[in-house]
């Protein structure tokens, strides 16, 4: 009996991708999956992959398409928070039966999907990661996860035990604090990563995050990689793990160690919500 091919729809809530990305990622997928890139992914309007309305409509269209098994976010780069109040009005049964995968800026959508308990939500590599050196490994990891052909090998080891999990970019997560768009994170292991932020900014964002009463309900925080930290005119005096340890201690939140996530090709997958003993 022929195995059903997984159909994956790709939309771009943030910045645009080029056709070349779509071609390379489709070639990697081969006949394991049929990738359907929404034309919106290639639109360009100022900073964004098309106007807010077009990005919201593309997301809602694909989320509601019963012929698609998953919605994969094409790329980060800022923009997803601008469609949080536009894209979720009409999600139906098909949207609830889907997997959603992305990270970085797309974390805004992961947050609201998890908040509204829509579908299976996961933090992991996106099509645009193909542009990184060695990026095929990252994209293959996501394809393996989305097609269910990897036996869970792409899941972060720290997110494989029974428990509850969520993963976010620190900047994106901090920007969602106090907005009402975050899911209930009670008892969750919260995994955080970042890229391109000064140490003092990481420190300030960890102040915001660990001061928030909702975040204080987490089971603990794990730190992924913070890549490409710019050199400040004066050394901050603490590295990123010391910063996170410090704010966890001040906020009476358990620091649980490192996570294998980040803006890089080793970025592993974290599935949001409850993971049972049999998962």
């Amino acid at each position: 009996m022929k195995r059903k091919t997984t159909r994956i729809g790709i939309v771009g809530p943030g910045r645009a991708i080029d056709r070349g990305v779509a071609e390379r990622v489709s070639a990697l997928a081969g006949d394991r999956a049929e990738l359907v890139f929404h034309p919106q992914c290639f639109l360009r309007e100022g900073h964004f992959a098309g106007p807010d309305a077009a990005r919201a409509a593309a997301f809602a269209d694909y989320a509601n398409d019963p012929s698609l098994d998953a919605v994969w976010f094409a790329r980060g780069g800022y923009g997803a928070c601008r469609i949080l109040d536009l894209a979720f009005g009409n999600l139906g049964a098909a949207a609830r039966a889907k997997t959603y995968l992305g990270y970085s800026d797309a974390g805004s959508l992961l947050a609201r999907l998890a908040r509204d308990r829509v579908g299976r939500v996961a933090h992991g590599p996106m099509p645009a990661d193909i542009l990184r050196e060695g990026g095929e490994a990252a994209v293959r990891r996501s394809l393996g996860f989305l097609t269910g052909t990897d036996d869970g090998a792409g899941i972060d080891a720290a997110a494989q035990a029974p428990g509850r999990y969520a993963a976010f970019n620190i900047s994106v997560f901090a920007s969602l604090i106090g907005t009402g768009w975050l899911p209930d994170l009670s008892g969750h292991v919260l995994m955080l990563e970042d890229v391109g932020e000064y140490h003092y900014r990481l420190d300030r964002m960890m102040f915001t995050i660990t001061s928030n009463p909702e975040v204080k309900k987490v089971a603990g925080i794990r730190l992924g990689r913070c890549g490409a930290i710019p050199v400040n005119d004066i050394d901050f005096g603490r590295n990123e793990e010391e910063i996170v340890r410090d704010w966890c201690a001040r906020g009476a939140i358990a620091y649980l160690g490192r996570a294998d996530i980040g803006h890089d090709v080793d970025n592993k997958i974290v599935v949001f919500g409850e993971r049972g003993a049999g998962a």
Copy 2:
């Protein structure tokens, strides 16, 4: 009868200043005011003007000193949020009878002072502004305000009518959202300024700010200057006023126009809280 000389204590909740700043600002004050620079202002530990405990203790010491009429924050530069939970435990009657003045990173302390209704809280130039070209005018404005010799001439024209006011740096204000340290801003004109942030970051911070239920209670938002906006690899497509107008509209918050505040020598003074008809 000899007029009482105003005694102003200066502390550094963020980064250090040099002795030269203290000398130049003291010379400008002349015999209008006696400036008392806490030795902590000149400490250096990594990024900060001394350890958190030293910065918190200096603030509390001067706030509680009955011989001082005002506490003036020496400089911004990140650090004030780190002493929010250390510095406020033992503020007494002398602390409540004082004026507090600063802006930028010091906004974290202005927020908590206003939240706890401690003293008269104002957003305006700091001693380190003397280092800007033409900075004497900014420092004179603050000296005139603190000594009460300017007849209110240094107050932002948009904050002179009867009403309630608050002013913040956008980055600092966004970092306080959801932390519990912000004052009740119901019915306030909220004035915001920034420096050195990309348009996309201003957009994301205005998303956070205008999505917050507490901020939605303001009477409206006025935009000060956003200086030194870095050039992004792709133009954002909206300037800072368009960004603020857009998010105010999305958040059903009145956009009230511009304010005369910013990280520059024209930065006017905004007194927090209620301003009566006779002020």
